[in-house]
């Protein structure tokens, strides 16, 4: 049995186990006096941590694109369609902001963990949450067919929007004025197979754009991506194009649909 087949079997097994455990927890949940599902919340956090660890292994040590795609499908199925996209780290920014601003607002420990785990993972391994754990990223990545490269100035200008969105989301949550990120979530309607026509049209339009522009929500809207980007700057272990020497063929730059690979700024001899 080749390594590739073994890896596929292990990943398929993990996926089946993940769904099996989730199914059993859903079927016989333990309920708190208030009626909230303790078991499923805890399971959700455990599965998030496991998925982050697997993503880090696949991206940094195993260096397997195929493995990351399989994990994306599993995450989309579980965190997206099964859990209905909630609670997700992207929206949990608002719970944490509301909890910090208002002492009477209780933030469950599971929500704090959902908020913190991907950030800790980003501090250690870079944006592995985005790679294959986030259902919002997965749904966009899986429909990307013919990526088009945006002009750098446009990329740079649109990259400012998530910072504004993050600030606005924190402000509105901290003042008790609503959770704008959840209200404006473009894909939650698909995940729950329900939603207003406006929500479904927005999500559909964004998915259509995602077919030619890599992950537009992640790059030009996601407020959590701002925090993950900041953490990943100092990550201890990070993705590399190749552990070998670069031959400056430029193929990686062309292959990256997110304009995340930058060309050399000095000549090979070391001069500018």
């Amino acid at each position: 049995m080749t390594r590739r087949v073994r890896a596929t079997v292990v990943l398929a097994g993990s996926l089946a186990a993940m769904l099996g455990v989730a199914q059993s927890a859903w079927a016989a949940p333990l309920r708190s006096p208030g009626g909230s599902l303790i078991w499923s919340d805890t399971l959700h956090v455990i599965l998030l941590a496991v998925a982050l660890a697997v993503a880090a292994y696949l991206a940094i040590w195993r260096r397997s694109r195929r493995g990351l795609v399989w994990l994306s499908i599993a995450s989309l199925g579980y965190f997206g369609f099964y859990l209905g996209g909630c609670v997700c780290p992207v929206g949990s920014i608002q719970n944490v902001a509301a909890g910090l601003a208002d002492p009477t607002y209780t933030v469950p420990i599971t929500v704090v963990l959902v908020f913190a785990l991907p950030l800790v993972a980003a501090l250690l391994f870079g944006r592995v949450f985005c790679s294959s754990v986030c259902p919002l990223g997965a749904i966009q990545d899986l429909v990307l067919l013919r990526p088009v490269h945006l002009p750098l100035w446009l990329e740079y200008a649109l990259g400012f929007v998530p910072y504004v969105y993050l600030g606005l989301a924190v402000l509105l949550a901290a003042t008790g004025s609503g959770f704008i990120v959840c209200r404006m979530d473009p894909f939650v309607g698909f995940f729950r197979l329900d939603g207003s026509p406006q929500m479904l049209i927005t999500g559909g339009a964004l998915l259509a754009v995602s077919m030619i522009i890599g992950r537009p929500y992640c790059r030009f809207l996601c407020p959590y991506g701002v925090l993950l980007g900041m953490c990943s700057r100092v990550a201890r272990w990070r993705v590399r194009i190749t552990p070998d020497e670069c031959i400056r063929c430029r193929l990686c730059e062309k292959a990256c649909p997110f304009e995340a690979i930058r060309p050399p700024t000095v000549e090979e001899g070391g001069g500018p």
Binding site: D141, G167, R238, V239, D244, L251, E259, A260, I261, P264
Partner: protein, 172 residues
């Protein structure tokens, strides 16, 4: 010219903070309490106008004034929303609601000021970093933007070679 640019970049966060603080009360209307307080005040104002017009119409029997009174009454009806109706039915006091709304507006003024400062700082840093070219000897990943999708692995010829060698070694 360069000095002027630097000053403009440095002033940007302060300018954005001031703009944010000015926009605070307007943005505060997205808050349910502030919005309800505004509606209650609008309803009170419409009611006063409506009462005044009715009294004037009773005193003078002209059709023009009667029409004006009808308009005022219609405006009063429009101003009475479900939220205002629910508030009137509740035991909550008017002053209590208005005090809370003014408090939220003050918080918004600070909050939008900070939001403006944040946006201005980010914009200033981004503008300043445009002219800064980091030293890169090879093609490198910008980790702030990289989502670790792994697409570049298979496109790198050196990596393909390496993976081939790894696979061969594993089979041996």
């Amino acid at each position: 010219m360069r000095v002027l640019k630097r000053i403009a970049v440095l002033l940007l966060p302060l300018l954005a903070a001031a703009l944010g603080a000015v926009a605070g009360p307007t943005l505060a209307r997205v808050n349910d309490t502030v919005s309800l307080a505004d509606e209650v005040l609008a309803q009170e104002s419409a009611k006063k106008a409506s009462d005044k017009a009715s009294a004037a119409a009773r005193e003078s029997k002209t059709s023009e004034l009667a029409a004006k009174a009808r308009d005022r009454m219609a405006a009063f009806d429009r101003a009475t929303t479900d939220e205002v109706f629910a508030f009137v039915q509740s035991s909550r006091g008017r002053e209590d609601l208005l005090d809370e709304a003014r408090g939220i507006e003050r918080t918004f003024r600070w909050g939008t000021g900070l939001l403006g400062l944040w946006c201005g700082l980010v914009a200033a840093i981004r503008i300043a970093s445009v002219s800064r070219v980091p030293r890169r000897t090879d093609y490198e990943i910008e980790h702030r933007l990289c989502v670790a999708c792994g697409r570049c692995f298979r496109h790198c010829p050196r990596e393909r070679l390496r993976l081939k060698k790894v696979a061969e070694a594993a089979e041996v």
